[in-house]
Subunit: 266 residues, 2 copies
């Protein structure tokens, strides 16, 4: 069982990812696909005159300001990417089923009651943000679908215990999913070669990271790579044998990563 | 087993439909919810500067011109309504799962190869339209979900045999779904009281239509009501015992229709 998380950013070759996924399923493999929707959300939010805004926490982390309208735009962007992946996989003979974390309470977690944001040097408390983390994965639903010969394609948002949709990080949700269904391998594919010691110098790729070296290499992660390294560490700690941060811009992104291209955590 | 199709037009009370659906599920009933996305598609298409266009066929039928961009907008609008229903049901304790007709090839059918459109008095052939009809329903997938205690919430588009997404009519898709899963009752709820002999005079409501009277009353149907009467006839012919065209603007829309409000076909 493999969980493949694929980014939706520029350069990512969704056709190549889909072809590779289909080859794996045809060979008898079981697969869960996970994706986010950040890039599409930014584009759609601009088109709908509700431009993306970002929050910087007192500790320096950046996250999307997710008010209710942004949440709707996020749901539409994630949903469209989800259905474009389902369409690609169906054309390749894979019986894909798209689900969000709301469906069947697939990704249940905690909504942040108060988000702290630094604005003009002052810390402001935001209470109407729809952001949170995944605490529980409905692995029974995924098992039911997989046993029926279906390939789940999963996307944010998640759902809070109270029933609110929550913007959750797709890399970390993929890590929680891999752990919950007992996947041996988690692939985090995006438009980078892997974790780089000196971003953006691709010759500085870190090829192997031991189980106890995750915290040590986390300092090299820039921007969105931080969540991938965090997810990799969480997956390893929860029993996933191998996590690979790999490149989705190449011709055989899944087979390439499984063969050891990218940064392998094990 | 009941299939409830609910429209997304103005006046429809989705909270009331969800409350009523939840009461039914809590009482041990099994339910499949179906919805369309016409109203939301029109709004979103205007917002995204790709205004809705409609085709009139030589026989006088009107349908949406669904080019690839319109299809995407349709997918986003349907998807958002789908997730807002799933969210409402989840808050009420119903473990809802949203699916499109692409997911698991739920609604498989035929894409129209050529759409005939009357423009300035001439018949024009359109070949890049993503429109079609549902020929087969993946009832095994619906059974699997229902048996696992989940409540499916279904939405267009469907999928052609070749793997193209197709804009399908949700009333007729609901009829095909009810027939395929052996539902006894199909409810078609929208912002009208039922089939009216003299639209829009609500005192002219036709209360009962016998199995052999469907063609006779079809002449009274105006606009979108035509597809509902067509769907009602198709469902009855495929073994559904009772179809009710009812009002979704009231406080207990499902219980009201089941009690005989609206137009009952049986």
């Amino acid at each position: 069982m493999i969980v493949v998380k694929v980014g939706g950013s520029e350069g990512v070759d969704l056709d190549a990812v889909s072809r590779d996924a289909a080859a794996l399923v045809r060979a008898g493999g079981q697969l869960v696909v996970v994706h986010g929707g950040s890039h599409g959300t930014n584009t759609l939010a601009e088109q709908l005159n509700h431009p993306p805004r970002f929050i910087t926490s007192p500790s320096g982390h950046t996250s999307r300001r997710t008010d209710r309208r942004t949440l709707e735009i996020f749901q539409m962007a994630c949903g469209l990417l989800n259905q474009s992946l389902v369409e690609r996989l169906q054309r390749l003979g894979v019986n894909a089923v798209g689900l969000s974390g709301l469906d069947g309470r697939l990704w249940e977690g905690t909504r942040k009651e108060a988000v702290r944001s630094v604005e003009d040097g002052r810390v402001v408390i935001i209470r109407d943000d729809f952001t949170g983390t995944v605490d529980r994965v409905n692995s029974a639903l995924l098992r039911t679908l997989l046993d029926a010969g279906l390939t789940p394609v999963l996307s944010p948002p998640g759902i809070s215990t109270q029933g609110d949709p929550i913007n959750v990080d797709a890399d970390r949700a993929a890590a929680a999913t891999a752990a919950a269904i007992g996947a041996r391998t988690l692939l985090l594919l995006s438009n980078v070669k892997g974790l780089l010691r000196t971003f953006p110098d691709e010759s500085s790729l870190i090829s192997r990271v031991g189980r106890h070296e995750v915290e040590g290499v986390a300092e090299y992660a820039q921007g969105r790579m931080k969540k991938k390294v965090l997810g990799a560490g969480e997956a390893l700690a929860s029993g996933v044998a191998r996590v690979i941060i790999g490149d989705a811009r190449v011709n055989e992104p899944i087979r390439g990563a499984l063969a050891g291209a990218g940064t392998v955590f094990e």
